[in-house]
Structures are given as C-alpha cells and as structure tokens.
C-alpha cells in the first residue's frame, strides 16, 4: 500500500533571500485585487492573480516551492499593468515584487527568445543610433513591397506577428540640438525624453509635444546624451543594462538644469519616476536618482498643472479615453489628461467602461503572450465600440500601437491619437482660423 500523497512543506529547500521583500509582508491576502487583474478576470485562476503571484513569490522566498518553469510562467503571464496597486487597500507595491522576481528568473520564453531579448536589451535599446538603423531597415522592408511578398510566404504564426509590425513613420523625429524656444513669455524650462520607440514610430507625437510645450511658454531641450528609459529591460528581468541606462539619463538630464523632465510615454514616465528605487543600492546615484525622479512629469500632468495658455480652436470629434496602465496605476494620473481633452472646444469625451483596464499591449507582452494579449484587445475594442467614439486617445506609444492593431483587426475602424496630437491640432485650428 503506497502512500503517495504529496509532502507539502519540504523544509529542506533553501530560502531565497533576494526575494524576501518587505512588500510581501504588506499583503494580507484580502483579495480586493482579484477582479481588477486582467489575467484573473479572463482565466479565474488564482495563480494568475496578483494575490496568487505574491503568494508564489513569498513561498519561493521561504523555500517552499522551486523557481521552476511553472513559477516563471505565472510571473510572466502578468502584464505588469499594476491595476492591482490601484485596488490595494494596503498600498502593496506589486510591481516591485514582480520585477524583482523576474530579475531573479531572467527574461521569458525559449532559449532563442531569451537570446534575442538579451541582444535587444543590451545591444539595441541603450543605443538610439543602432535602433534607428534597425527601424530604417524596417521602413525599407515595408515600403519596397518586400513585406507584401514575404507575408504571402510566411507561416501563419509569423504572418500574424508581421501584421503587428507598426508602419514606421516616414518622418522620424530627430530632435534639434538647439533649444526650442518658448512662444510668448517664458514660464518654464524643460527637458524632454525623446524615447526609443516614440521618435521612430510616432515622430509626429514628439513634434506635437514640443509645439504644445512651446505654445505654453516652455523652452524645450533634448539633452544629447539621453537614452532609452530602460522600462522594457526592467519589465523583462534585465536590470544590468537598465541601471546603466538610468545612470546615463540621470547625468544627461540633471546637467541640463531644468524645471521639469517631460515624458510623453506613460511607461517611460513611470519607470523614470522610480529610478530612485532602481538605484537604491548605488551610493553615488541613489540620491541623484531621487532628485531626478521628482523632476519627471508626464506631459499631460505637467501641462494640466501649469494651466494651458493660448487660444484653442475647435476640433469637432467624439473621442474616448484609454487610461494607459502606467499612467493611471503607475503614476496615479487620471483626471489631468481628461481635463486637457475637455478644454478642447468642439471635442466630446465619452467614457468607456473599464477605461483603466489594460489593452493587452504591455511592452512586448503582445509578442510574448499573443493569445492573452489579443483576448484583452478584443474585449477592449468591444467596449470602445459601445461608446460610438470616432477616435480613442491613449497617451502612450505601446497602447497606441496595440489600439491601431485592434482597430485594424477587430474594428471599430477608428483613429488613435496621443493627447498631444489633439492639443496641437486644437492650437493649429485656432491659428488657421485667425489667419482667415
């Protein structure tokens, strides 16, 4: 008679000190995060919930379970949208728990995926020029007709991935090395993050942001030695290159001696505000990182705080607003972008249900977890459709890409804008009207 019921607490396993985070002990297992978690809502499985993942990390820290592939799958099925942080009555910073666990586990996927990711994280993202080169190749691939030919030859899975490739904008944004000067009386001097993806895929958004800032009395500079913010690295278990990128940005931006560091990508802003945490163990940078973090402002946050000046013209449009996760949950910015949108004459804002629920973009999640990503996107497009809006506003490049893809794949066929696009359009409309 064999007694095979599993032994539960194999206390001989060793504890994992690096995972034994103070944040773990702030979670009292109340479960209020459950229904706010996109993956739990879909699967209804506790291991795919924030409370479940925290429990798993705690168990791993205590040496009660192995850090095996199954554990890793649970930690990486998370979108890191941090909706659970908005729901948590205890203020548990789940993002830190998940990021630390991922750092311990390393990047997701097969050996090949990991090798590719490692290359991207350490050899491409930190080097804006190399990244620009890759995107130039991509543009040639798309505009030469080569894409159409390969698409017909590719197997289904790769074809789907190819369809997700964004169209590289014709006009890449290359910031001027001179300052963009304030229009009218100067109210602030700011430095702007150019970003890695934004200038290459949404060059016009950076242009619009600069214009809107100028129109609101800001001198805008782009510190030359700035680099990518490191968010993709941090979210995918790579911290060495990320820390180096953070240090480089801190040096570049602090030297500029500005009133604020403006970021128009929610994901980047959230990470840059938290450089202090990333570099907490770095004695030379910890303090500087905190100071840097306190200067970082999302473009919408900054402008709403400053108060818009100048004449806004009519933009007749019905829009709905998608809260980027790292703006709503990561930076607790919800009212400011809405306030700015509502200040545009002629524009109607219709709220969608669950506007702060993730669209499934989540950095490279749509590539690493296409099935879950598409499920969430489909739901998102359905709720957007109910608003009858003709456009959706989402001030973050990842969300914009995902929503463009959603509009194209599932409908409704609507336009996708960054908040800064519409503000600039409104200012231009006023200008055009006054020229008549």
């Amino acid at each position: 008679m064999e007694h095979t019921h599993p032994t539960i607490d194999s206390a001989n396993q060793s504890k994992v000190a690096t995972l034994d985070l103070p944040e773990l002990y702030q979670c009292v297992h109340c479960g209020l995060c459950l229904d706010q978690c996109p993956t739990y809502r879909v699967l209804k499985l506790e291991p795919e919930s924030p409370r479940g993942r925290i429990h798993l990390v705690k168990a791993a820290a205590d040496g009660r379970i192995d850090l095996n592939e199954r554990f890793k799958e649970h930690l990486y099925l998370c979108l890191l949208c941090r909706a659970c942080e908005s729901a948590c009555p205890s203020g548990v910073q789940y993002g830190r728990i998940a990021e630390t666990a991922r750092e311990h586990l390393g990047p997701p996927g097969s050996d090949l995926t990991r090798a590719v990711l490692n290359f991207v994280f350490s050899q491409l993202l930190p080097y804006p020029r190399r990244l620009r080169f890759v995107f130039t190749l991509l543009r040639i691939y798309q505009s030469s007709g080569l894409q159409r030919i390969t698409r017909s030859l590719l197997p289904k899975k790769l074809r789907e991935m190819d369809a997700m490739l964004p169209v590289v904008s014709r006009s890449l944004f290359r910031p001027d090395s001179n300052a963009y000067l304030a229009i009218g009386p100067r109210r602030a001097k700011v430095a702007m993050l150019n970003g890695c993806v934004m200038p290459l895929l949404f060059g016009e958004v950076n242009e619009a942001t600069v214009r809107v800032l100028q129109r609101n009395g800001c001198d805008v500079i782009f510190p030359k030695s700035q680099t990518c913010c490191g968010a993709l690295n941090i979210h995918n278990g790579e911290s060495t290159a990320a820390k180096q990128m953070a240090r480089q940005n801190i040096d570049a931006f602090l030297a500029a001696n500005v009133d604020a560091i403006i970021v128009n990508a929610a994901g980047c802003g959230a990470v840059m505000k938290e450089y202090g945490y990333l570099l907490r163990d770095d004695p030379t940078y910890a303090q500087k990182a905190d100071r840097f973090g306190s200067l970082v402002k999302d473009a919408g946050e900054f402008l709403a705080g400053l108060g818009l000046v100048g004449e806004l013209g009519a933009v007749k449009m019905t829009v709905t607003y998608q809260d980027p996760c790292h703006l709503a949950h990561g930076q607790r910015i919800r009212s400011q972008p809405r306030k700015l949108l509502q200040s545009i004459p002629g524009l109607t804002l219709v709220e969608m249900e669950g506007s702060d629920r993730c669209c499934g973009s989540a950095g490279i999640y749509n590539i690493t977890h296409p099935e879950m990503s598409r499920h969430l996107l489909k739901e998102k497009m359905q709720t957007i459709a109910l608003t009858d809006a003709e456009a959706v506003v989402a001030p973050n490049p990842g969300c914009m890409l995902q929503l463009c893809y959603g509009a194209q794949q599932y409908g409704p066929k609507l336009s996708v804008y960054h908040l800064m696009d519409l503000l600039e359009r409104s200012y231009s409309a006023a200008e055009a009207a006054s020229h008549k």
Binding site: C30, G31, K44
Partner: protein
Amino acid sequence: MTRGELVIALRATIGDRYVLVEKEDVIVYEQDGSIFQVMPEIVVLPANAEEVAAVVKLAQQANVPIVPRGSGTGLAGGAVPAEGGIILSLARLNRILKIDLQNRIAVVEPGVINIDVTKAVAKDGFFYAPDPSSQAACSVGGNVANNSGGPHTLAYGVTTNHVLGVEVVLDDGQILWLGGEVPDTPGYDLCGVFVGSEGTMGIVTKAVVRLMRTRESVRTLLAIFDQMDRATQTVVDITGAGIIPAALEMIDRTTIEAIETGAPVGFPRDAEAVLIVEVEGLIEHTERSMKLVRDICTRSGAREVRVAKDETERQLLWKGRKGAFGAMGALAPNYYVQDGVVPRSKLPEIMRRIAEISKQFNLRIANVFHAGDGNLHPNILFDMRVPGELDRVVEAGAATLRACIELGGSITGEHGVGLEKKAYIGLLFNEADLEAMTRVRRAFDPDGRFNPAKLFPTPLSCGEIRRQPASIPAGLWI
C-alpha cells in the same frame, strides 16, 4: 480509485487547464482571506453545474473531501481545505443568467462578483443589498455560504433575507432546486437551511437573489471624535432616538492609521474614532434624519461633523471603510479579525474591555465595525514570524469573544464560523443544539465529505495556522 486515476478522470471531465495539481499552482489555494493555511492536493475549476456534479461524484468514488471556494476572501478560513483533498473553485461559474426587474429578482451563478449584480441593474434603478466590505471581489456563492452581511445589513438584513432559492449539487451528484423564483415556497425552508451552511451540505450552483429599488436620495456623514467613549455612546443615542440609518459604522484611531497609510482617503489621523452614518429614502426623510443625526453627534461630543457634499466624497468615505481590513497590511504583516456581536447598548463597555485586552496581551488591536448592529471587528495585529506571538494572538482573540458572550452577545455576526471560531461555538450552543445541527448536516452530507472539520467544535490550536494537511487515512491514495 487512486489519486492518479482521479486526476485523469477529473481532467477528462473538465479539461486539463482547470485541474491543478502542480505545487506551483495549488499552493496559492492554501489560504483565503484569513491566516489559516492548509494545502489542497487538487484544485478544480468546473464551468457549470453538470461539471460540478461530475466532480462531486468522482470525489465520492475516490473518497476525498471537497472544499468549495468562491473568491477566497473569507475571513474565517472557510475555504481552507482543513483535511486536504479537492478545492472546488466556483470562480468560473460567473454568469448572470437572468434579470427580471418586474419581479425584482436576478438568477446568478455562484462565482458572480457581488458588486457585479448591482452594476448590472444600477442603470435601471435597482441594487443588490448585501454589501460585504469585500464586495468588489467576493462572490455571491461565498456570501450565500457565509450568510454574509455588510454595512447596510442594519437596514436591509443579511444574505439570507435576499436569497429566494438555490440550485445545489448534493453529495451523490444530484442537482436540485431549494426554493425558487417566488417567495414562500411551501414545506421546509431548505433554502434557508442551505444559506449560511458554510459549504458543509453541498455546492450551490445557482442562486435567485432579490433586487431592491435604489432610494431616491442618500446622505452620508463622517462624525469625528476625540474619545472612543463618546463615539460609542453616540451610536447608542442615534439608535435610541428611533433612527435606523442605512449604515452606521465605526473606525478607530489604529484603523484610520492603516487606511491613511495604505490608500489614503482623508480620515483625520488624530481622531480617536470616526463614525460613518448613512441615511436614505425620500428626500424629505433623508434631510430630516440627517439633521437629527448631526444634532445627536454634536450633542454627544463629536469634534466635527462632515457631510459628504457629493457622490465622489461619499464614495471616498466608503472606499476607506471597505478597504479597512486589507489596509491592515500597512501596519503589520498579519492580522487576526474577530467577528463578535454585542447588544448595541453594550458598545461603550465592550470597547473598554477590548482596550484592556490589548494592553494585557501587549498586542495592537485595530477596531472597525458595524456599530449600528453591534457587530465588532477587532483586528489583532501581529507578525507571524515572531516566535510565540501567534499564541498570544489566539488567546487575545478568545478573550474578546468571551467578553462578547459575557455581555450578552455572540461570536460571529457575518464572517461565518469556519476554522477560526469552531473552537468557540461550544461557548454559544449546548450539546443538544449542536446535536440538532449535526443531524441536519448529516441529512445532506452523511459522509462528511463537504468542507470537513469546519463549523463544529474541535479545539483550535495555533498549529492549525499553516500546517500540513491532516493525515489522510492510510490506503486512501493507493
């Protein structure tokens, strides 16, 4: 049937994805909202009543216990598999099957989140009344099992007053309805027996719930006190004046500290206690009641009375109150919540006793409770990692419950008995009472397969808080 055969059969019935056996999957089901931990061997998530019935039959063949689980937000260990076995999660049975506004009912599956019932009918001017603080996450099925209450229990009663019928799966896999869509079905009130049975009689797979009409107006105030005695006396004075508010809640200084640290809503950190008082009804009525309540608060010594000026401010007050338990994590890694009840008039007395107990055991106790119906929630704050602390916590918990009973009260208002209070149920019921309850339970579940080792008295040792599954009879997993 061996364990392997059972797993294969379960997988064949409800699909691979929803039968969990790996340690990295099942370990997260070892705990609910309480501090108890026992690991299940298997977790299953069926999709409908038929699959639930199939799981129950297989469990019978394999002779393993079944513990139903909703969202796992319970505070008494009700969803902890005390004797191992199968956790049957109802989370995937989450459809609202029918909304019938003319007859003011909804038919829902047990995994539906409490707040989603109200959300589904709010635009038509209706709501589902039972509103546990965890309502943004807890399930209707879990509410039915625990006969849950909430802040508005004062005016509307508990879950059993809002459930007209349940579809259940019995121990032999039979699916049947108890009660139904019309009130007052003849014969035994078996639906009433099932509500609050804490998963010990069978599995609820559908419920017919009552919908209430949203009131014309609602007003909410926050009364701030520098002395606990004055706050508790105010509660006595309000109810004594014949006013029945929709809700009458108390939050003490330590709880305010937790809320304001975890997710601040603007409660004054320097107050000894605050009361949230809500009145609702026709506009004339609410205005008059609000004025009366204000006057009583001021007369009884409130330092300040703030009336929520709009829905946003009102929601903020409730967000603070409803997040109170979860916020305890901001003060301590663990908390042990009690659910005692005293007659309202004894509130000043019990609060003094709890303060003494806190001193005596040298433990911080945060109080947040449904003052209007005398339902206390002292949260004993502690750190499981400190050796010996848990023993003191269990003793202090027992002392608060004894104090409640001495003052003419009870040991549970709404959280259920579960694992947590089964040691104390003997303080409340005599042997004849317990024997009668045991017979009712056996009538439904003769083998004791459903949620064993709950509800009925066996001593609770702190070893039960995180322990191995109880040894399973030899030969079970052959």
